[in-house]
């Protein structure tokens, strides 16, 4: 499996696991009727730090095994795959933002609005990584 495809797998799986944990925790606090407190903000910061650490560590672990391949710049096919995947993710992001705007017109608490926007952003990133993997599997 090429380095770029492994990188896409790392991005997708780490985001699924770590943001899954974050939104799971969020649902528990919401169920406990304590949304929007300081602990939620701290959990978000912890989540972002965990994601960065996990992605950097996993990328280093993969790059150590094939350092020459990891150092190569993206070639034309890999750039095209990135562009195609980003376009697909953008449609999801744009649609999600429109839905969030409609949701915002119902005057929900700021806590829900911001987290729904975060969920849309995370989902579009996961879609982007997933689309990259599919294109790598297909060849282009």
């Amino acid at each position: 499996m090429p380095f770029r495809e492994k990188s896409a797998w790392i991005s997708m799986l780490s985001m699924l696991a770590i943001y899954g944990f974050y939104f799971g925790t969020l649902m528990q606090t919401t169920a406990a009727r304590q949304p929007g407190n300081l602990a939620s903000g701290i959990t978000l910061v912890q989540t972002i730090v965990m994601l960065v650490v996990a992605q950097v560590a996993l990328h280093i672990a993969v790059a150590i095994r094939k350092p020459a391949e990891a150092q190569l710049p993206r070639d034309e096919r890999e750039k095209l795959i990135d562009l195609k995947a980003t376009r697909i993710a953008f449609y999801g992001l744009a649609s999600g933002v429109v839905v969030a705007c409609l949701f915002g017109s119902l005057n929900p608490p700021v806590f829900f609005s911001t987290n729904s926007l975060l969920l849309i952003l995370v989902t579009s990133e996961i879609v982007r990584s997933g689309a990259q993997i599919i294109y790598y599997r297909l060849g282009a």
Binding site: P2, D75, R77, G139
Partner: protein
């Protein structure tokens, strides 16, 4: 509009040039081995620049390496 296909002779030319590996060809033209493999299998159509670089490696004109045909 008819569906066009681009085929190529890269695999044959690699073997005719001292059984050159995909990795060796990739290094000569500045692409990854996976991209050379995708081009060879017809899954990816290279840019004009990459096509010229591939042809130059084999010392062949472009039309001897790549074939364009319009389907019916």
């Amino acid at each position: 509009m008819a569906i066009a296909t681009i085929s190529n002779e890269i695999r044959r030319l690699r073997f005719a040039h001292g059984e050159m590996t995909q990795q060796q060809l990739a290094e000569k033209i500045g692409l990854t081995r996976q991209t050379v493999n995708a081009i060879e299998q017809g899954k990816y159509s290279p840019s004009l620049e990459a096509a010229f670089r591939i042809s130059a490696v084999f010392g062949q004109p472009l039309e001897n390496v790549f074939h364009y045909s319009e389907g019916g």
